[in-house]
Symmetry: C2
Subunit: 132 residues, 2 copies
């Protein structure tokens, strides 16, 4: 069975200049045939990823390629910011950050929060019903 235990690929990343420490677990990193990556963030109170964007050719981009990102909050409560707009998301809520949007996640609550991220290159062949 292809099982990854929590901690098997644990990383401590400062990420994009955010405060505090975000514990990162990258599931089956670059080992699967699925065309998206899957990562878990564990954010203690006060931790934040830092705002960033993924847009090919943009000098402010933190990646050379475009990347769309889907965030699913699975434990606790976080604040997500997209292009200057803030929203509180709770366990079970999700947010979609298209490539080019400036976005970030922060834990401003008093309890830990976990978020699952699914990200990858947007597929131009897919009907993108969500407009940026």
């Amino acid at each position: 069975m292809l099982v990854q235990r929590l901690g098997d690929n644990a990383l401590e990343w400062e990420l994009y200049g955010g405060a505090g420490k975000v514990d990162v677990e990258w599931y089956f990193r670059e080992r699967t045939a699925l065309p998206t990556s899957v990562v878990r963030y564990h954010l203690e109170p006060g931790a934040e990823e830092g705002e960033h964007l993924h847009l090919e050719g943009d000098p402010e981009s933190c990646s050379v390629k475009n990347s769309d990102e889907l965030y699913v909050v699975v434990v606790g409560e976080v604040v997500m910011t997209v292009d200057g707009e803030r929203s509180v998301l709770r366990a079970g809520d999700a947010l979609y950050a298209p490539s080019g949007s400036r976005h970030g996640v922060a834990n401003e609550s008093d309890l830990p929060a976990d978020v699952i991220l699914i990200f990858g290159a947007p597929d131009p062949a897919l009907p993108r019903l969500i407009k940026e």
Copy 2:
């Protein structure tokens, strides 16, 4: 902001003949440019998905196309079965079910459990380091 609240796309599926009821939330269903789907299962004690497989051309397949699936347990504890082998997974653990493997998730514990599923067609261009 592109936010989906828990319950916005809630489904009650019997899934693949499993016992009990699994609450399903499909995030941004068929509305994104990401080439994988993202779903949340909420399993009360005793609930199970039912074992199934995704393999093009196989008469036992429950889908016409191949699909690889990555399960991430985010709350509680579940039992996953792949090709007859069982393993207990807890919050933060993950399992990869390549297309063609017979697999399923069940909550045999006394507490609710949540699982995030990421699935889609395996990309033949990707180096599939995980062997079936």
